[in-house]
Symmetry: C2
DNA sequence: AATCTTGTTGAGAATCAATCGCAATAAGCG
DNA sequence: CGCTTATTGCGATTGATTCTCAACAAGATT
């Protein structure tokens, strides 16, 4: 993981009278080693499978800190589940999600971003953040005709 | 509530070998009397405050039926909570959500919808449904300078 | 380096939403 | 009116997240 990230987080902690602990650093390291969306359970499993003896409670307690520090966001996942993704050093993107095979496509369209801002202006709304998830069928699943599908909406 | 909705739902039930019960009808009636996003807890409270003696389990069991029948969707709410909204007879719309006062703006922009379809085509993706939530500050809250805010992201 | 203050940790209990199991009930059909 | 079987209510259960609290340790102070 990047030194820069660790420094950014430590700085955030100190600025808010919190402490830099090995647990927090270890969790953060895993978050940035995971290049996909994940939930706390997955993250905890990974930490447990390694030597670390970090408690579940600490993982749950750390996530909101990462979010507030601007390093991680809560993002799109199966509806109703809390899912995270690291964003520090990444560009903003939106998602397509195949309801049949679970495939996830990340995309970024400049025209779309601009259009959203424009629409907000019409409503006098000040956008800070947005989340767009398009559900449907990926190229593969679209041709192999639809059947059941484990990721029902 | 509209007779038409009840008929549509009854028809869906019969078509699938399920039964039309007074409980299901009562829950559906409340869902369509509620003109905003809601979670199961709210819905159950409303039902309980009225004469009805419908169990929580029945409410939880009914929601997926309404969704499958195309009368209701799971939609945007505080991230991580399961929130519903009735859609039968309503046009598709997206949401802006004020993180300070909780105000919700529903909007529909044709250009935005078309652009999304276009982007999907580029990825060979077959969109079926999408969910766009823009978080930020509403007109009012934007001028009254930002402070805390009970609806943190 | 030793000491002090106070934020943090781990473990398990507690909480909360959602689901389940089952006996009693009642929808739908002949 | 009966028969079949889906549905209900209730309480128990699961699963995720939060809380409690005593032991610990980060970071400031001397
Ligand atoms: Mn992503
Ligand atoms: Mn809406
Ligand atoms: Zn697919
Ligand atoms: Zn507002």
């Amino acid at each position: 993981m990047n030194r820069e990230i660790e420094r950014a987080f430590s700085s955030y902690l100190r600025k808010n009278g919190m402490r830099v602990t090995p647990e927090r650093k270890a969790i953060l390291r895993e978050v940035f080693a995971l290049h996909r969306h994940f939930d706390v359970e997955e993250l905890f499993d990974i930490l447990r499978r390694k030597k670390t003896r970090i408690s579940q409670a600490s993982v749950y307690r750390s996530m909101p800190l990462f979010v507030k520090a601007g390093l991680v966001i809560r993002t799109a996942g199966a509806v109703g589940k809390v899912v995270y993704e690291h964003v520090y050093g990444h560009e903003h993107h939106d998602h397509m999600f195949c309801v049949k095979c679970g495939k996830q496509i990340e995309f970024n369209d400049d025209k779309l971003e601009k259009l959203q801002v424009e629409i907000c202006r019409k409503y006098g709304f000040n956008p800070e953040y947005h989340n767009l998830e398009i559900d449907g069928l990926c190229k593969n699943c679209a041709k192999n005709k639809r059947t059941g599908g484990k990721y029902e909406i």
